[in-house]
């Protein structure tokens, strides 16, 4: 589903060049739930951003569903993200001036979907995450867990093949974190959505199919969890 070939990412300032990712080779298979772990600053989020076409690698190639994305224009990348990828962020990234339903509709605004169909799909997505009774609320009226559910609804409303989750439980207590994790597992199991999740939490990571560990921008481990935790 996702193939990263010899990915390098470096940030250059006037005086120094920092290598954030160093020759990463990784394949994520369709229907897989993969977690990425590593210490802070090891390049997990950078890797996720590159997979999600939110950032471009300095070197290397990103293939999604067999398609090389390196030379796509800004418009093509935006279309690709819209059609293929759903994002979940640690800090939710909800638009506070829009109601829950409008927040969930957001990805559909950039597709040729009628207003009534948008509402219908957004309602369905909110029902899936158990927030059908909070559609008219503003994000400020929701708890952290509810906000993340809205973010998940927004990520799945366009029925993407891939969901990229950057520490989705990082801002939540363990109970809420478990709820969100269960929701992601359910999505993966029932819809067959490929999920890549960055996390610091071993407990969450062990619930996924496969764990990739990064250290100082390099991939140091790649194991299926059965082998690691069996």
């Amino acid at each position: 589903m996702i193939q990263l070939k010899q990915i390098e990412k470096s940030y250059r300032t006037d005086t120094i060049e920092t290598l954030a990712l160093n020759r990463i080779n990784l394949s994520v298979f369709q229907g897989e739930f993969l977690s990425i772990m590593g210490p802070s600053g090891c390049g997990k989020s950078t890797l996720l951003n590159i997979m999600g076409l939110l950032d471009a690698p300095t070197k290397g190639e990103v293939l999604i569903d067999g398609r090389l994305t390196t030379h796509l224009s800004d418009k093509q990348l935006a279309h690709f993200r819209n059609q293929t990828i759903g994002f979940i962020f640690q800090s939710f990234h909800l638009i506070n001036d829009l109601r829950v339903l409008d927040n969930v509709e957001l990805p559909l605004l950039y597709r040729k979907v009628s207003a009534s169909e948008r509402v219908q799909l957004a309602k369905e997505a909110l029902t899936k995450v158990g927030l059908s009774n909070r559609m008219k609320h503003f994000p400020s009226q929701l708890s952290g867990g509810q906000k993340q559910r809205v973010a998940i609804a927004r990520a799945i409303v366009g029925r993407p093949q891939i969901i990229l989750a950057d520490e989705p439980t990082g801002n939540l207590d363990s109970a809420m974190g478990n709820e969100i994790m269960d929701l992601l597992l359910h999505l993966n199991a029932t819809e067959g959505t490929t999920i890549v999740m960055v996390t610091h939490d071993e407990t969450m990571a062990k619930k996924t199919h496969r764990l990739v560990r990064l250290f100082d921008g390099a991939q140091v481990n790649d194991h299926t969890l059965k082998q690691v935790y069996a």
Binding site: S45, T46, N49, G52, L54, D55, D74, K75, L77, A78, H79, R81, N82, Q83, F87, F89, S91, H93, I95, D97, L98, R99, D102, E105, L106, P107, L109, Y110, R111, A115, F138, R154, G158
Partner: protein, 391 residues
């Protein structure tokens, strides 16, 4: 997308209130400026209705020894003949003190059987006045010697007065009431813009300078041949001074027009400068607010990019939001502006207000578009990963 923009704007109505107010005030300022410009342009487009090139004005004090009406009329005849004896003089005619481009005016209310009271400028003119200024008669005739024996005082009116007082119907032979007198209309002439290029056409009524008025009429309009120079002007001055015996002043009508036009343009220039400064302030304000908004909304921009918005569509959305806001401000502004033609404020034609409204609307849209364009482009250049990371 439009409904999405409306939702976003409505949900942020408190933050948008000041911006809408700023655009609304800008619209009103521009409406005032454009009304003045459109009015001046309409006036400018209207022909003067007479020729002022090579027309000089000789003003003098009637000598004290001329006491009776008959001697005053005789004195004017002498002067007229003296002027006509110069080969460089084409024609000479007497006028009251409010000749074209003079800084004086004389007006009063007149009425007719059809219409009660309209404000009208009064002019005193002799039989040669029309020829000196090469003004055009529309119907009837100009004054002549035959009017000396007329039973009732005769007048010539302009086209505008005929339209206002007689509803555009032929006024020849009809009477105008003024101060208890009944003035018989013998001619209708084309409108004359005697107050300058940028002033409006006003109602005009010409009274004949008869023997009774000669004593109070001390301005001679002299049409000279092209090329009449300062040497001739000096000669003319000398001759008139010798005949009149009091101070004489000769002015050129084209120079008087230039002076008159400057006076008309000064308030317009002041208003334009004030309006210009206001617009610069508004533009800077809008630009600053939009720039600030975009920086405040970097996370939202990053998110939109992540869920499928291209840089171009983010830019379009921000410009679109600004244009929707300006539309709301313009709707409020239009409500007030449209009262001006409806209530006929300042007695200006409705077309002036309507054109000014259209220009103001276009101006505000262009201003907002330009002010939103650069911040919008800046937003489009934000890299999604960077914007999302900043949160």
């Amino acid at each position: 997308m439009i409904s999405h923009l409306f939702k976003l704007i409505w949900n942020k109505k408190k933050q948008n209130f000041l911006l809408i107010t700023e655009m609304f005030v800008s619209f009103l300022v521009m409406f005032a400026v454009f009304t003045m410009i459109v009015r001046a342009y309409n006036n400018y487009r209207h022909p003067l209705g007479f020729e002022y090139d090579d027309v000089w004005v000789a003003s003098y004090m009637t000598p004290e020894n001329i006491q009776s009406d008959d001697s005053a009329a005789l004195f004017q005849d002498v002067l007229r003949k003296q002027l006509q004896s110069f080969p460089q003089v084409v024609e000479a005619g007497f006028s009251g003190h409010n000749f074209p481009f003079a800084m004086t005016m004389s007006n009063s209310m007149v009425s007719s059987d059809q219409n009660e009271g309209v404000m009208t400028n009064f002019y005193n003119a002799d039989d040669n006045y029309l020829k000196v200024l090469n003004a055009k008669m529309l119907s009837g005739r100009w004054f002549s010697k035959a009017d000396d024996v007329s039973k009732s005082p005769v007048v010539v009116i302009n086209r505008k007065l005929q339209e206002e007082l007689f509803e555009g119907k032929n006024a020849i032979g009809k009477y105008i009431e003024y101060g208890g007198d009944r003035l018989k209309v013998i001619g209708v002439m084309e409108n004359m813009k005697d107050k300058g290029t940028y002033t409006p056409v006003e109602n005009g009524l010409f009274k004949r300078i008869d023997a009774g008025a000669a004593k109070w009429t001390s301005n001679i309009l002299i049409k000279v041949k092209p090329g009449a120079d300062a040497v001739f002007e000096g000669k003319l001055f000398k001759a008139l001074s010798n005949t009149i015996g009091t101070s004489v002043e000769i002015e050129h009508m084209d120079k008087k027009l230039t002076r008159q036009n400057k006076l008309s343009l000064i308030p317009m220039i002041i208003m334009l400068v004030v309006g210009g400064f206001l617009i610069i302030n508004v533009a800077l304000g809008l630009f600053g607010v939009l720039w600030y908004n975009i920086n405040k909304r970097r996370s939202e921009i990053g998110l939109r990019r992540a869920v499928g918005a291209s840089g171009n569509s983010v830019s379009k959305q921000l410009v679109g939001e600004s244009l929707v806001l300006s539309t709301l401000a313009l709707l409020i502004g239009l409500f007030f502006a449209i009262q001006f033609p409806l209530l006929k404020v300042f007695d200006l034609p409705a077309s002036v207000y309507l054109v000014a409204i259209a220009l103001s609307v276009a101006f505000i849209y262009i201003l907002v578009f330009l002010c939103a364009l650069y911040p919008g482009r800046q937003a489009a250049a934000i890299y999604p990963a960077v914007a999302l990371h900043e949160e």
